[in-house]
Symmetry: C2
Subunit: 212 residues, 2 copies
Amino acid sequence: MEKPVSSSVIKRLPRYYRYLGELITLGIERISSKELSQRMGITASQIRQDLNCFGGFGQQGYGYNVEYLYGEIAKILGLNFKYKAILVGVGNIGHALTRNTNFEKRGFNLVGIFDTDPQKIGMKVQDLTVLDYKEVKSFIEAEAPTMAILSVPRAVANQVANELYDLGIKAFLNFSYAELSKKEDTVLENIHLGDSLMRLCYKISEKNKNEV
Amino acid sequence: MEKPVSSSVIKRLPRYYRYLGELITLGIERISSKELSQRMGITASQIRQDLNCFGGFGQQGYGYNVEYLYGEIAKILGLNFKYKAILVGVGNIGHALTRNTNFEKRGFNLVGIFDTDPQKIGMKVQDLTVLDYKEVKSFIEAEAPTMAILSVPRAVANQVANELYDLGIKAFLNFSYAELSKKEDTVLENIHLGDSLMRLCYKISEKNKNEV
DNA sequence: TTGAAGTTTACATAATTGTTACAATTCACT
DNA sequence: AGTGAATTGTAACAATTATGTAAACTTCAA
């Protein structure tokens, strides 16, 4: 029986992956937890402990092989799966996401984009055509996508999420400012831009307070 | 001497704020930690303890006044300040952010947007005109913005951040996939879309593993 | 006016997360 | 081959974070 890995560790994995990717482009072949810790600004022992949750990827007295570790983390994250994803809401954000995101490298394959606005339907974005949201049911039945990206207005976010849930989609990446009511058997990641802005605002205010 | 509030608490504040906003639109005037905890899916005790970090906003035997608490959290976050912000990199994401983000409600005021691409310079986005990044120095000297949003390509992110830092900007909201090297006297929030995708990918893979 | 129900506050306890320390192992060099 | 320096893996410890709970206060109804 495998022990479940704490979510704190999972949160850090993509960051490790990012750093290792950079090391590869720099041509660095091996790295010690100590050096990586200096680059990343966390303790070496945390790195070792995190990685050890998934098995011993390093070699004592040697360190970690960058390319190997990179590949192992990719496996852990499941990036090789290329889950089918759809995007609902081709507004400013949805449009930008479609054109700007390298889904392939992060485990997904964007296969359909949807909107309700007649002006947008039929429009080409990258190599995809905006489909009528009315067709989402038949599309999902045919393609069976795993994940949906929600970039719809706040007011309809929960409704759309429920509809997609009923059609079998159990994984969501939510960009809308709404708080999605999380169901038991779904997985969800939120990107709340507004929250980040407010946290930044707090930090700035706090810093000013301490300096004056 | 005020004790510093833990960053775990700060991370949750915007979420409280969001929920309280929703309660206001629902016309709810008062709420107990118990009911809020049920809506938010966290323990009542945590809500009470979080809020008590900043003083007693509730009334025993009554609960919390929604509107008052909403206002108090806004004060704590510093949302009343309207710090001046600039945005660098009017690509897909930068463009979408400019048009789609309600900065005013989150403590900021977007006063300038910049790019290096001659095709983009002079373009109107909302009520702002894209300025030449070459002018950023004189602009900052004149306007003294507090914060910069970085939506530039990964390759130049650190360079741009350093330039802005030297010009006096000490707060950054980073959208680029790069890892900004954090300086002592700066505050930084990252929005790494790629990381969220990878975490979601992990969760999906994990879920599948457990179900099969 | 009084008491019961409800609620915050404040604090004690539990759980989680991160750090330290060190034994076991490997590499590099002579 | 042998030795020392480097480095991981891991167990014990410390710190942080979350939860549970008793005491004090408020409201409200009889």
